[in-house]
Amino acid sequence: MTQNSEPVNYVGIKNLTVTYQPKKGSPVEALQDFSLDISKGEFVSVVGASGCGKSTLLNVVGGLLGATGGEVLLDGTPVRGPRRDVGIVFQSPVLLPWLTVLSNALLVPKIQRLDKEKHKARALELLEMVGLSGYEDKYPSELSGGMQQRVSVVRALVADPALLLMDEPFGALDALTREQLNVDLQNIWMKTGKTIIFITHSVTEAVFLGSRVVVMGTRPGRLLEDISIDLSHPRLLSGMSSPEFGKYSDRVRDLLGVGPVSNENSAAAKHL
């Protein structure tokens, strides 16, 4: 029923440029002429070294930051501020310590004055999906870091946004917890069919989760390559050692300027 003959993308990022003016010195171009189209239900991993503007990109798509040039269209309408059809998961869980797990999960419906009972049922369902049944009445400080980040994922999903933005959500977690959460996130994505933009430093994480991996370059932040990951879902952690997985990872590392044999973290060691 679209009047436009062109296929309408769910997320349309067109020639996006973001320039910061630091207090001292010349302006910094965080993003330069960045374009990306994302269809509904895609899982797009965005990977790049620190300073490539990937967090900036997420903030603009989430309506938390204005663009200097270009625009972001969401479901056909330009993004001018925070929107209800977008959920965000930040680098740290940012749970409110005075609220229980359940109340934290229900924060977004509370802010938006949405139906409480309906969302409570949904929150309980999502908490169960991430293995947090029975923790509803606990407070955040009683939870481990991984559990806290699960709650923040639930919080982002409770109001049923069509688009989920994730800004290096598992970067601060230990390797085992991180892998478990990658598996859980894949399950959530497969069950809910959300469109997800997932920012990460980790090449394996990007390839494991993404139906596409967008590789970004630094100074100025720009798109290097958009790689389609044609591996079937659900993907298993054991699949990370398959030749196909290795081929994709190596391609990403090549683009990032990291040799296939070296540690992926060396390019991303300097945290922004």
């Binding site: 925070p82 930040f90 940012v94 409110l96 310590p97 977004v108 802010i111 400080s141 009683e142």
Partner: protein, 258 residues
């Protein structure tokens, strides 16, 4: 010393020891009562005062002044602090004036307040309120400005209004700091009420202390000190306990860290 009752018992025993040593030292050194009274002398004044009833009345009068003054000061301090944090103009124009007015000692303003509102309850409440107002204001302003940027970003991303951010994030975050201010303010309210009574009153513990002082009745002055200390301790403990209940998540944090 492990149980709560054991700790309380140890504290009471220590207090008895101090008072006993005090009594002994006064008697042994033959220090005149008008310089430092022995605890037994102070006790005599207290029991006499309560038997005759006037000390109970004075305690009640001063306690009412303290509590009312505290409430007025806290409500005003909180309200203006919120305006300062939320509106730049209030911060820019009004806050410096408030800071300057606060720099004038309350005791210097008190005679004027007595002229304005008389020697009754109102002047004491006003002076106690003025004394409690400022520390509370500063603690609320500081606490509200300590807001976690990440929490504000989270709220904004969900489309929260300015007042939702205030109510749901900034205020709860500020509560530990605000309770610090509430504790300082309650003790200052005691000072404010007594200052008010010193400047002009016909009742209350400050009046009693001043009256005893004029007669070199040091034991009665000490009786007044003891009652003021009891009121102050009781009220500040009440604030501390309320704080622990309200800022309950700090206790959970502590337990989680063990």
């Amino acid at each position: 010393m492990k149980t709560a009752s054991g700790r309380s018992a140890a504290r009471v025993l220590f207090l008895i020891l101090i008072v006993g040593l005090w009594e002994f030292a006064i008697r042994a050194a033959h220090i005149p009562t008008y310089v430092i009274p022995a605890p037994s002398e102070v006790w005599n004044r207290l029991s006499l005062g309560f038997q005759q009833g006037f000390l109970l009345e004075y305690t009640r009068v001063t306690a009412v002044e303290i509590v009312l003054g505290y409430l007025v000061g806290v409500i005003l301090g909180f309200g203006i602090a919120v305006l300062i944090v939320q509106y730049f103009a209030v911060d820019f124009f009004l806050y410096p004036i408030i800071i300057s007015i606060n720099a004038v000692p309350k005791i210097a303003i008190s005679p004027l307040l007595i002229i304005w509102v008389g020697t009754g309850l109102e002047s004491k409440v006003l002076i106690a309120a003025l004394t409690a107002f400022f520390p509370l204001l500063v603690s609320v302003v500081t606490g509200l400005r300590l807001v976690e940027i990440s929490q504000v970003r989270l709220m904004r991303a969900a489309g929260a209004t300015k007042w939702q951010v205030f109510r749901m994030v900034a205020l709860p975050n500020a509560l530990p700091t605000i309770f610090g201010g509430l504790q300082v303010a309650i003790v200052l309210s005691v000072i404010g009420a007594v200052v008010g009574e010193f400047v002009g009153a016909s009742s209350g513990l400050g009046y009693y202390i001043l009256f005893a002082n004029a007669r070199l009745d040091t034991a009665s002055m000490f009786a007044g000190f003891v009652l003021l200390a009891l009121i102050g301790t009781f009220l500040s403990q009440a604030v501390v306990r309320t704080g622990r209940k309200v800022v309950f998540w700090r206790e959970i944090d502590k337990m989680a860290q063990v």
